[in-house]
């Protein structure tokens, strides 16, 4: 495996890991709010969260490019603040991935929170537990499968993204070149052997991860029964 490919693998894992972590910080409170409230504003936010599911990645990528670019509001702010642009950088890629993978983290969490036994939370409150404590030791354990599915889907979906990355990240080796882009480049340059190796590795990696997760999930399902 040459260095460029190794760099692409590392970039991909870094991107997926960072994105999943950030999405948990944003997604858990958002999913909790969506699950607990029934206002009209909720529907609009639910629709916005689900947008990346239906939009072509290029649409999202195009507007992100505008917003993140040096002339864009966020890009401009970033240059003033940190001295370098956002588009075609790893940070820009993380922002794009967070938007792109948002529904894959929020929706399983929201579904898990909605199916919580509300009485157990209320029981915890009457027993003196603060909403925060009740959330951590009553809601989270009940929703743990939702957390697992959200993490796996968020991570896997980020590993598998292509269009948005291409639009806002370009193809800078060691910085923004992820595996999917590297494969695309190998195919473009008719280097089928390298493309094969990478693609096969992706399939094996994804399969092993999913298998591990599913078997863990199955054992988890009944650990207190």
């Amino acid at each position: 495996m040459d260095e460029a490919i190794l760099a692409a693998v590392i970039t991909t894992l870094r991107l997926a890991g960072t994105t999943t972590a950030i999405l948990f910080v944003i997604g858990v409170p958002l999913a909790w709010w969506l699950a607990q409230h029934g206002s009209r504003g909720k529907l609009a936010i639910e629709a916005i969260v689900a947008l990346p599911l239906v939009l072509p990645p290029t649409v999202l990528g195009f507007y992100l490019l505008i917003v993140l670019g040096p002339q864009g509001p966020l890009g401009d702010l970033w240059i003033n603040w940190l001295g370098h642009p956002l588009a075609f950088t790893f940070s820009g890629l993380v922002i794009a991935s967070c938007l792109y993978s948002l529904p894959f983290v929020v929706q399983p969490l929201q579904a898990a929170f909605e199916s919580l036994d509300r009485h157990t939370l209320e029981a915890a409150w009457t027993l003196g537990a603060s909403p925060w404590r009740a959330f951590w030791n009553i809601a989270v354990p009940q929703a743990r499968r939702g957390f697992l599915i959200a993490a796996v889907l968020g991570f896997a979906h980020t590993v598998g993204e292509f269009g948005v990355v291409l639009m806002v990240g370009g193809n800078i080796a060691g910085e923004t070149q992820v595996i999917s882009i590297a494969i695309y480049e190998q195919v473009e340059t008719l280097n089928y052997q390298a493309a094969h190796r990478l693609s096969a590795a992706m399939i094996v990696f994804s399969f092993i991860v999913l298998l591990a997760v599913y078997s863990w999930n199955r054992r988890q399902a009944g650990w207190w029964r």
């Binding site: 009485h119 209320e122 915890a124 409150w125 009457t126 027993l127 003196g128 603060s130 009940q142 029964r225």
Partner: protein, 353 residues
């Protein structure tokens, strides 16, 4: 001695609740009424899980809620032990962890051991709720509520999820457990036996209003209105056309009552106070239609000539007439209640015999 006083008004859609409730320490007060009468809403408001539109709740010198003075104490600060209908146990915690959840860390070990012992749960202390029997789950829920040393204990239909055989034993256990408590206990129920066995005071609720309240025996023996009679298990309620010389007349026959003269209304008698005899001179004739085995007693269903059903409870010693035979029914006048037409104006429409 702590004491709870609550005035609660709440409106949600077409449902309107407006009640005054008083709970005394060391006794069980029951809220009795059909589903949808507002029992659970009152319980939730006392626990702080629901905000009333108007009203106040006072516990001894402390105000838990006052909508005028904008006081609202969170459920965390009220220390109300709640036993939910479905128990709401924490499935991922052991029995011991469930019981200790509401206890400060310093006393946890001691309190948990104490309640495991008292509730006969020592052997299953390390089990998870899914591994327990129905009765054990119920005791864990009770232990969890009691271990935090509550200022008020709220029981929401606590026996509805256990089978009949176990229910009686658990009720006896509960009564022994709460006999020496220093806090008030509220029991929400629609089970008459449960209220009779456990409660000292009762509030009879219907459609968000208190119809009658007082000592359980008195309310059950002297329902103020026809609707209360219906709710507290007076199965025999008969429409009266007129009352003359101490006899109430209806299409079903006649019965001697204490009142002398009166207009139309209703007369009621509990199944255990109706006596049955083989055909002989009498005021109320009926045909014996069914005999239902209720365990310690039998319920006899009799039908009068106009199709009115009457229910009689008899012990096993009583020699029952044969099915299809004509019988005479009677009751001592002191066990009969007579309500004049205008006394039951609020329920006349909903009542059918």
């Amino acid at each position: 001695m702590s004491h709870i006083q609550a005035a609660l008004a709440l409106q949600r859609g077409a449902f309107e609740l407006d009640v005054n409730i008083e709970l005394t320490a060391g006794a069980i007060t029951a809220l009795l009424g059909p589903s949808g009468s507002g029992k659970s809403t009152i319980l939730r408001a006392l626990a702080g899980l629901q905000t009333p539109t108007r009203g106040n709740i006072r516990h001894a010198e402390q105000t838990w809620c006052d909508t005028v003075r904008r006081i609202w104490l969170s459920p965390q600060r009220r220390r109300c032990g709640v036993v939910f209908q479905d128990y709401a146990l924490f499935d991922h915690y052991t029995v011991a962890q469930n019981i200790g959840y509401g206890v400060p860390a310093a006393q946890r070990q001691m309190q948990v051991n104490n309640w495991l012992e008292r509730l006969d749960l020592v052997r299953v202390a390390g089990h998870y709720p899914a591994q327990l029997s129905g009765g054990q789950r119920q005791r864990v829920a009770l232990g969890r509520a009691l271990a935090m040393e509550p200022q008020l204990l709220l029981l929401d239909e606590p026996f509805s999820a256990v089978d009949f055989a176990l229910r009686h034993r658990l009720r006896v256990e509960l009564r022994e457990l709460v006999e020496r408590t220093q806090f008030p206990i509220l029991l929400v129920s629609h089970d008459l036996d449960e209220v009779r066995q456990l409660a000292a005071q009762v509030y009879v609720l219907d459609d968000g209003r208190v119809l009658q309240s007082g000592v359980v025996e008195e309310v059950f023996a002297q329902p103020a209105t026809l609707r209360v009679a219906e709710i507290v298990g007076w199965k025999n309620l008969l429409p009266v056309k007129h009352l003359r010389a101490g006899i109430a007349y209806g299409a079903w026959g006649a019965l001697a009552v204490h009142a002398r003269e009166g207009r139309g209304g209703w007369v009621g008698v509990r199944p255990e106070h109706l006596t049955i005899a083989a055909a002989s001179p009498g005021l109320l004739h009926a045909t014996l239609r069914h005999i239902t085995d209720l365990g310690p007693v039998r319920e006899l269903t009799c039908v009068t000539a106009d199709g009115t059903h009457l229910y009689v409870l008899q012990t096993w010693r009583f020699v029952v007439p044969r099915l299809g035979e004509t019988v005479v029914l009677s009751a001592a006048p002191e066990h009969l209640r007579y309500w004049q037409e205008d006394e039951h104006f609020m329920i006349a429409e909903t009542h059918t015999i």
